[in-house]
């Protein structure tokens, strides 16, 4: 990590702020469009995910992007190999 450079000395530049503002407006407008088209957030599982994502955005914890990625991910089952009954090198050339 020695080559890692420090980002801009201004932690939140005006350009970055305007991009955040613009993307928030895009999000708001997209939700408004869906609502005008009759979308009911509470009756759609995706709506619940979106609401949870907004909670992550508004908290002050780290790694928001990773947490939102995780929110929209299916869970990993550590026992998948047992479920699939797969073992290494059992299939090739047999």
């Amino acid at each position: 990590m020695s080559d890692t450079a420090t980002p801009s000395p201004d932690p939140l530049s005006q350009t970055e702020f305007l991009q955040i503002r613009s993307r928030l407006l895009d999000l708001a407008a997209a939700l408004d469009r869906a609502q005008r088209a009759g979308w009911n957030r509470d009756r759609d599982a995706r709506g619940q995910k979106i609401a949870e994502a907004f909670e992550i955005l508004s908290d002050d914890g780290p790694e928001r992007a990773a947490r939102i990625q995780q929110l929209f991910s299916l869970a990993h089952d550590p026992k998948w190999r047992e479920i699939f009954q797969l073992t290494l090198r059992t299939t090739f050339g047999t």
Binding site: M1, S2, D3, T4, A5, P7, S8, E63, A65, A66, Q69, Q70, F72, S73, L74, A75, H76, D77, W80, R81, F84, L86, L88, R89, T91, F92, G93
Partner: protein
Amino acid sequence: MYYIDPHIHMVSRTTDDYETLARMGCVGMSEPAFWAGFDRGSVDSFRDYFRQLTDFERRRAAQFGIQHFTWLCINAKEAENVSLSREVLAIIPEFLGLPGVLGIGEIGLNKNTRNEATVFLEHLELAVQHQQQILVHTPHLDDKYAGTRMILDMLCDDRRIERHRVLIDHVEEHTIRPALEQGFWAGMTLYPLTKCTPARAADMIEIYGPERLMVNSAGDWGPSKPTAVPDFIMEMRRRGHPESLIRRVVYDNPVRFFRQSAGFQFHAPDDTP
């Protein structure tokens, strides 16, 4: 700045794209075998595709001074058909010794099924038997996390796999850490809508550093941008990162990873900045 796109599907792109990429500094690229947008009907379709990858695209790229390399496999989506996959696996060794062939890829998972995992393991066996490098496709969207974990489980289970010769591609914020921590290389794919943007890729370079990390466009027949790597370069410059760091990610790292393959006979431009 010269750069290498380590993952791009030029069979789906025009000759104009080659010219544009050359003008933007692209001097090398690697093209993994992938899904054509439809399921192919027979092993002969794959034989023709492998000829296209190892011969025609190589010549088409050379017209613009771009060195073209490739990876061979049956992709994760068509791997659902295990019997066809086994026919394709059987013909791959015919091509492995050809100039520009870097290894087996892009293998991986799509919907994380038993059949896909079976064919993935058989590809690993083929790679081990022929001492090939491996390029791994990780699934899309909500399947990515679980699929990446399954892939890492399978790779780490096999002690014969040399992790420094394996690239885990399409990593994002929730999958980059396990890939790097396990000793693999990782690639970030820059797509307009899914996968990763240039800004988020730059974020991950800032967080994890440049070691064993690359960026690629994965330009193909869908919504994608073959000039995405130059976009990443511009984003890094905008943030004030040194040219040496940027070059390490977009040029030095691909060279370092690919040169582990006998098929990587790369001629560096004389005046690489």
